[in-house]
């Protein structure tokens, strides 16, 4: 089921447990309507990957995920020949070869006869599709998530181009495979390096930042249903203050949610300075960060008005 309007996108993503800003929903709507890939950038942990998952849930499509890393190559992203299977088949049909060349009187005639059969070994049967080919070949449309595309090598980008602009894959032995259904493509990037202009031109761009206060509170209330509203507000205010500090890794939405969960587990109704210090290791992932927040905690809690 496709989206009909921007507001519908927002509602349906919310139903799929993803609260987003109007900007995000507009971009998702446009991408779906015009079948263009989205390039999502933003700090770690703001829900870039989650967006793709939510889209797949709300559209009722399967999610195919390709995690990029340095050294990712065609064989792992596109397709690979199943050599072992080919080898086995060769062994098994070895005897048959005599039947094929039985009537041949000269060697060249025998080779011609074998050549007539050779396609059997380089056919669909022996291809092992990897995520990109899978996304193109499925009968039902899917959501294709190319995660952390900035981690891949520049060479990998080059053959992404063919897939993203024409939705086709060239396999030298067989030919070009055209997409049956055009997938909804989401690329995420942590800005480890810049993407090439050619790739950017084919995508529409979305920058997701840390959410504003109200949005973040809504997200907490939605994801942690039995949390008190007051606690959620205090929680979000504190997190936003901590984000302003100069930390190695700033707490993102996922940390907010983890923290909320652990506070619920501790059966806390209200935030206090001590409680923050006790649970700090949920929010900060580096020892040095924890120390830094501890040093500032008095100022933060007095600004928010905690006990």
């Amino acid at each position: 089921m496709n989206y009909k309007s921007v507001s519908e996108v927002k509602e349906r993503l919310a139903k799929a447990d993803y609260i987003c800003s109007k900007e995000t929903s507009t971009v998702v709507f446009l991408a779906e309507a015009t079948q263009k890939p989205i390039l999502v950038e933003g700090p770690a942990g703001v829900g870039k990957t989650e967006l793709a998952k939510a889209v797949s849930r709300s559209l009722g499509r399967e999610l195919i995920r390709l995690q990029c890393y340095e050294g990712l190559d065609e064989a792992k992203a596109l397709y690979e020949w199943e050599y072992a299977k080919q080898l086995l088949y060769t062994q098994m049909v070895k005897e048959k070869i005599h039947d094929v060349i039985a009537g041949a009187s000269t060697i060249s005639e025998a080779i011609d006869k074998i050549a007539g059969e050779e396609d059997a070994f380089f056919s669909e049967r022996f291809i092992q599709p990897r995520p990109l080919l899978q996304a193109i070949c499925t009968k039902e449309p899917v959501v294709l998530l190319i995660d952390e595309v900035d981690k891949s090598d520049p060479e990998f980008e080059a053959f992404l181009l063919e897939v993203l602009s024409d939705f086709q894959v060239s396999i030298p032995e067989i030919g070009t495979r055209q997409a049956i259904q055009i997938p909804f493509v989401v690329l995420t990037s942590n800005n480890y390096r810049d993407m090439s202009d050619a790739l950017k031109r084919r995508c529409i761009h979305l920058y997701i930042d840390y959410p504003d206060r109200n949005l973040e509170i809504t997200i907490v209330l939605l994801k942690i249903p039995n949390i008190k509203e007051r606690l959620a507000e205090q929680l979000v205010d504190t997190i936003r203050k901590i984000r302003e500090l100069d930390l190695k890794k700033k707490p993102s939405i996922s940390e907010t949610l983890d923290w909320a969960k652990s506070l619920i587990a501790l059966q806390a109704d209200e935030l206090s300075t001590e409680l923050i210090i006790d649970t700090l290791n949920v929010i900060c992932k580096y020892k040095s960060d924890i120390e830094r927040v501890k040093a500032q905690i008095k100022t933060i809690s007095s600004q928010i008005g905690l006990k």
Partner: protein, 463 residues
């Protein structure tokens, strides 16, 4: 509508954003699908198509505001009210009267066509310090961009004055009220032009990682600031570095040898079986060639920065076999390559030699902009997609033109840009420091004031 978007796109181009025709076409397609009366949707559609880089978002917001809020309302006035035709008359009159017309772009700006003006402002930044034309060849000035800005400002004032004169002369033609309206209209517009000239686009939240290191390798010497070392400690430092480099090399060697075992290369193995009637006697492994990065370092060799840079160069060259190539440049205001010196001499000798033999003047004031221009002219080919560019400097450029455009170009040419700053972070954005400007273009920024922080960095770089 189509005209308007076209015009906006050319405005963006004039202001230095790269927008291709296909992107404009996509944008039209998208606009048909959304509800354009909702501004949020409209703006997002334009942004998602025109801006493919979070660093340019600030610039986009500024242009969008200028074009669709400030100029648009003016054009509305120009079309609908009788004031509009009067404005037009005044402008046409001015256009004819002025003999030589340097301020054409400003008059265009007043009538709602900002392209010329945007281009002029843009050229301030890109042409920067090209020597000013004219018969007088004074000392090479670094204030080119400031001077150009001033020129445009003066033009704006001149236009304002001539408009006011014109209105005063023709006072009798208009009623008191139209006269007042015209005056406010023009001065608002000119204010806008002036504001655009002054304002730099707001820096957008960047997520290039800031790395700070606290972990203590060596409690004593590791935490000492490079600048405050005694000669004896410098020697101690060298021993420590040598030790650590050896350890690091072992780790790297181990990693590569493990890599070599690799997975079976089925294709190659099958091909080899042909020799033995299909019996896999020899198994080949897929060996990945070592991925070695190329390193280009730019070192500010003025005073305090050099004390940090020398150790960093020491480490890099001790670890040379871990990289495909290390090229180094030193600069104050000019830039010179010192790679050769390092290749032909022992490291510690080379470091001393680099200071004496590089063809740069050490008495000049530090000027990052001019160093970048130098680099662009002579060494741009040193950068490619396998290069990591390391810059060591405090970013204190004595208020000269920072040339962030060239820096951006350099960033695009290489794989990663890392900025090492020997100053503690509290001082980064004070005084003549250009860190705020350059920060946006770096993939990583680090404080690098003592040995521990430097070792952290090298660890990250090679492992």
């Amino acid at each position: 509508m189509i005209d308007m978007i076209q015009q906006f796109a050319s405005c963006c181009r004039a202001a230095g954003l790269r927008i291709s025709t296909s992107e404009v076409l996509d944008c039209f397609r998208h606009l048909q699908l959304i509800d354009i009366s909702d501004e949020m949707q409209f703006k997002t559609t334009l942004r998602t198509n025109f801006i493919k880089n979070y660093r340019e978002q600030g610039k986009f917001d500024q242009l969008y505001h200028l074009f669709f809020h400030e100029l648009r309302t003016d054009i509305e006035i120009a079309r609908s009210t009788p004031l509009g035709s009067l404005v037009k008359d005044v402008l046409e009159n001015l256009d004819q009267n002025s003999v030589d017309n340097p301020s054409k772009s400003i008059l265009d700006f007043l009538s709602g066509d900002p392209i010329g003006f945007l281009e002029e402002v843009r050229s301030i930044q890109s042409e920067g310090n090209e020597p000013m034309q004219g018969p007088i060849k004074g000392p090479r000035s670094n204030l080119g961009s400031l001077a150009r800005r001033l020129k445009i400002m003066l033009q704006i004032y001149a236009v304002q004055e001539s408009i006011m004169n014109f209105l005063a002369e023709n006072k009798s033609k208009f009623s008191w009220e139209t006269n007042k309206n015209l005056k406010t209209y023009f001065s608002q517009r000119l204010d806008r032009a002036r504001r655009y000239l002054h304002e730099d686009p707001p820096a957008y939240p960047d997520n290039s990682s800031h790395v700070t290191s606290y972990e203590k390798y060596l409690t004593q010497i590791g935490e000492r600031n490079f600048a405050s070392l005694t000669p004896k400690e410098v020697d101690e430092m060298r021993i420590v570095i040598a030790h650590w480099v050896r350890k690091l090399k072992d780790t790297i060697g181990l990693r590569y040898s493990r890599n070599n075992r690799g997975i079976i290369d089925v294709k190659q193995t099958l091909r080899d079986t042909m020799k033995y009637y299909g019996v896999p006697l020899k198994i080949s492994y897929r060996k990945r060639p070592k991925r070695k990065g190329k390193i280009v370092t730019l070192c500010d060799v003025s005073g305090s920065v050099w004390s940090a840079a020398r150790f960093m160069l020491n480490m890099l060259y001790s670890l040379q076999e871990c990289f495909a190539k290390v090229r180094s440049f030193v600069f104050v205001a000019d830039m010179d390559e010192v790679t050769r010196i390092f290749e032909n001499n022992d490291i510690n000798e080379a470091i001393d030699k680099a200071l004496k033999e590089a063809k740069i003047s050490y008495n000049a004031d530090t000027d990052y902009g001019s160093a970048f221009r130098n680099f662009k002219r002579s060494y741009m080919d040193a950068l490619n997609k396998k290069t990591t560019l390391i810059i060591i400097g405090d970013g204190r450029s004595n208020y000269t033109n920072p040339e962030e455009d060239i820096f951006d170009e350099m960033r695009e040419k290489c794989r990663r840009v890392v900025w090492l700053n020997p100053e503690p972070k509290v001082f980064w954005y004070t005084g003549d420091s250009e860190m705020r400007t350059y920060e946006v273009y770096c993939h990583q920024l680090r404080v690098c004031g003592n040995l521990n922080q430097l070792m952290d960095f090298i660890n990250d770089l090679v492992l």
